[in-house]
Amino acid sequence: MLTRGTLAYIGQRLVLIAFTVVAVSSLVFIGIHQLPGNAFISERVRGDRLELVLHEYGLDRPLLEQYQEWATNAFLHGDLGQSFVNRGLDITPLVLRELTVSAEVGGTALLITIGLGMLLGVVAAIKQNTWIDYLLTTTSVIGYSMPSFVLASFLLLFFAVFLASATGGAFYYPLHWSGTYGDPIQLSIPAFALGFPYASIVARLTRASMLEVIRQDYIRTARAKGLRERVVIIRHGLRNALIPVTTILGPLVIGIITGSVVIESIFTIPGLGKEFVGSILRHDYNITIGVFTMYALMVGVANLVVDISYTAIDPRIRY
C-alpha cells in the first residue's frame, strides 16, 4: 500500500526524472550540433543549395536561438521537431511508437531475465552439488560470459537458417517482423537473446542467495512444522532470497534497454534501439535528441519502478 511517505518519495523522484530528461536532452542538443558535417551535404547539395536547406530548417540561426525554439516546443508542447533526413517526418509520434515496440521486447526480455533466472537459480540451489547444479551453473557462466549480440547471432543462425534448412522449410523462426508489434513467436528469440545473459546473472545470484536462506533457522522451523517442501522453498525461501536479486534489477533493466540497440538491429525490430545508432550516423540530430530523451525517461521510470518494488518484496523498506 502506498503511504504518504511513499507518495512523497515518488513525487520527488518524478521531479528528479523530469530534471534529468531536460538536462540530458539539452546536453545532447548542444553536443550534437558541434559535430562536423550535417545531414544534407551531398555532391548535389552544396553552396547556395545547402544554404537554402539549412535556412529552411533554421540551422543557420544562432545555436542558442535554435535551442530556445526546440526546448519550448519539446518541453511545453511535446513536439520534438521533424527529421532532417526523412522530410516531413514528425519525431514525437515516431519515437513514442518505437518506444512501445522496445518496451514490448524489453518487457519480454525482463520476464525471461527474472523468470528463467530465478528458476535456474532455485533449482541449482535445491539440487546443490548434483549434476543438475553443475549443468545449470555452467549454463549460467556461459550465459553471462556471452554478449547478447553473439548469442543473438547464434540463435538466428540456428533457428532461422539451420532449422529451416534441416527441416526443408517446415520449421523455422520467421525473420519477418511485419507490423508494429511482434507475435509471441517473433518475440521469443530476440527477447531470449536480450534477456538470457541477464537471466544468468540472476540465476547465479538467486542460487547463492537461496543457499544462504535455506540454511536459516526459520526455514528449518518451517520444515519442522511439516510444511510441504514446495511451500517452504517458494513462500519462505524464495521471497527472502529475492531481496538481493531485486537490488540488481535497476542495472539489469538499464542493461536490457541499452542491449536492445543491437538486438533490434539484428532482428530488424522497428524499435527505439534500431533508431539510436542510425540517427547519429545520418546526422539526424532531432531524432538523436528525441531518442536520447526517451532513453533518459525510460531509465528514470524503470529505476523508480524497481525502487518502489522493493517495498512490496521487503516490508522492512519504507520511504
Binding site: V45, D48, L52, Y57, N86, R87, L94, P174, T268
Partner: protein, 630 residues
Amino acid sequence: MRLSAFKLRALSLASMAGVLLVACGSSSGQSQNLASDQTLKFPYFQEFGTLDPGILDAEVDSEIAQNIFNGLTRFDNNLTIQPDIATDVPTASNGGVSADGLTYTFHLRKDVTFSNGDKVTSKDVLYSWNRAAALQGPYASNLGAITGFSAVAKATKALGLKPKKPGATATAAEQQAFVDASKNFQTQVETKLAANDPKFAMSGLTAPDDYTVVAKLDSPAGWFLSAITLESTTGMVVDQKVIQTNARDWWTKPETLIGTGAFKMTAHTAKQSADFAPVANWWGSPKPVLTKIHMDIHDPSSQSTDIAAWEQGQYDLVGYGGNSQLPKADILRIQKDPTEKNYLTLQPKVRTTWVTFNVNSSHAAKGPFTDQSGTASTLTINGDAQGINLAATSGNAHDLRLAFALAVDKDKLANVVCANVTCSPAKGGLITKGLLGYWGDDKDPLGKFDASQAKTLLQKADPNGTLVKGLKYSYNTGAPNDDVATFLQDQWQTNLGVKVDLDPHPDASAFISDRLGGKYVMSRDGWQADYNNPQDWYDNLWGAQAETSTSNSSGYDSKTYDATLAKADALPLDQALPEYQKLQQELSDNVVYIPLYYSVGQFLFKPYLKGAGSNNFFDHYWNEISILQH
C-alpha cells in the same frame, strides 16, 4: 446419315467456336499460371527521404517514386528515351526539335490522369517544371537549359530565404521574418505559383494549347532530353491542386501523394512499412498485374537478416529500392549454394570509383601532384605501345601521378576487395560499361598495371623521395572504402616503395565537403551517373564550370577541356559522343585520376517472379512484374 445444310452450318459454327475457345484457352492458360496472390514483398533499407520530385535527391527514393510519377518521356529498360506522357520523343526529324536546336515541342497524350482522376494538361507540365525550378532542389539544374531558369532561381533567393540574419540590432519583426522564412519556404513558393507570379515562371516554357508544351532553350543543349527524362525528379508532372493543400509535406500521406504513375501509396508507417496498390484504369501500359506491393522499411544494418528472411520465403526479392549493394559474405555464400545461386543477378550499375589527385595549385591542398599540363608523347606500358598520347610532364607532377596510377593492380583490387562480385575493375574509362560514353574494354591506359614502369617514373620524378614523403590518401570510412584504402596503401608500398598514410574520415558529409573544396592531396572519389548522357559526368566533375560550382575535386581545367565540353553539350547526343570521348582522353592523358572499380549491384529474385530485374540505372518498373504460380 446425311446432314442438313442447317446442321452443317451449325457444325461449322461449333468448330469455329471450338477454335476460338482453344485460342482463348491459351491466354486464359497464361492467366492461370499467375499466382492467386499478386502481392510483391521486399525489404527496403531506408525510410523515404522525400518522394517529392521537386526536391528528390536519392536513388533509394527515386526507385519508389518512378512508379508513382511520370514525365513527358521516360527511359526504358535499355536506357533508351521513350515517350511517356508525350506522344512522341521530340527529334529534329519529327519536327519536335527546331533546326537550331533551341526549341523543343512536346505533344501530350489526352488520356493521362492523376491517380485522383484529375486530367493532365500542359498547364500541369508548366506548373511542375516552374515549381521545380523555383524550389532549387538538387536536380533543378536539369531544367537549367530552359530560358528563364536563372531568373526563377534569382527570384527564389529574393523570396526572403536569405534575409539579414537577426543580430543584436535586429528588430523583433526582423527576427520573426527570419524565422518565418525558415519555416515556410515551400508555402511561399506555392503562393507565388498559384498567383501566376511571372518571376516564378520560366519565360521559355509555354503552352500553346492544353496538350502542347514548348520549351525554348538559352543555347542548344543535346543533354536536355536526357535530363528531363531522369526518373522521379524535376521533369516529372505533379498535381498543383493537391500540393496546395500542404506545400511541404503533401507527399507524406497516401491520400495526397498523387501522381500519374501505375501505383499509388495506400499505407505508410514511417520506418516500418509501406504499401502500394495499382491505380484503377491506369492510362499507361503494360497494365499492372501486381495487386499490392508491401515493403518492410529497415536499414542497411538489417541486410543480412533480410537475406535470410528471403531464403525463408518471407520476401520475393532483395536489392530493389536502390539497395543492391548487399553484404559480400552473404552473396558469396549464396553463390556457393547450388539452388540459390540461380536466383542471384549481378547487374553492373552506374557508379565508378577512382582516386583523385589534386592537380590545381590554387586548391587548398597543394601537394606534389599540382601540375596538370604537359606536351604529348607516347608511353609504352607493359612493353606495348598504347598508341595513346600521354602528356609528358613539364615538371615532375605528371610522372608522379602516372607512377601512382600504374602501381595499382586494378584486377587484383576487384578480386581482393570485391571478390569479383560486388565490383569490376575500371579499365575502360571513367564512364561505366553499358552507358553512353563508355570508352571501351581496356581502353584506359590508366587502368593498366605496370609496376616496373611505375617505379621508373617515380625514380625520374622524385629520385630522393622528398615529394612523396608524408603523402596521405583521404577517404570516408565504411565498406568497401576501408578495404580499398588498405589495398592501395599496400600496392604503393609494394610496387613503388612509397609509404602512404591513410587519412580516414568517419563523417562522409564532412569528407565530401572538404574533398569538393579541394582540401585533399589524394582522395577517394567517384560518381554515380544520374542519366545516360556523358554530359552528366563531364559538366559536373571537371573544367571551369565544375570549378565555379565547387564540385571539381581535382581542380582540373584547361581551355581545351572547356571548349570541347561547350561544343559537346550543344550537339545532339549522337554527334556529341566523339567530343565527350576527347574529354575522357584529355583527363586520362593528364592522369587526373586513378581508375579503381565499377560498381555491380546484387539482386536476389525468387524464380516465380516474372519481369523483375534491374538495368544499370534503375529497377524494372512494378507494372512490368507479375508473380507466377509456385
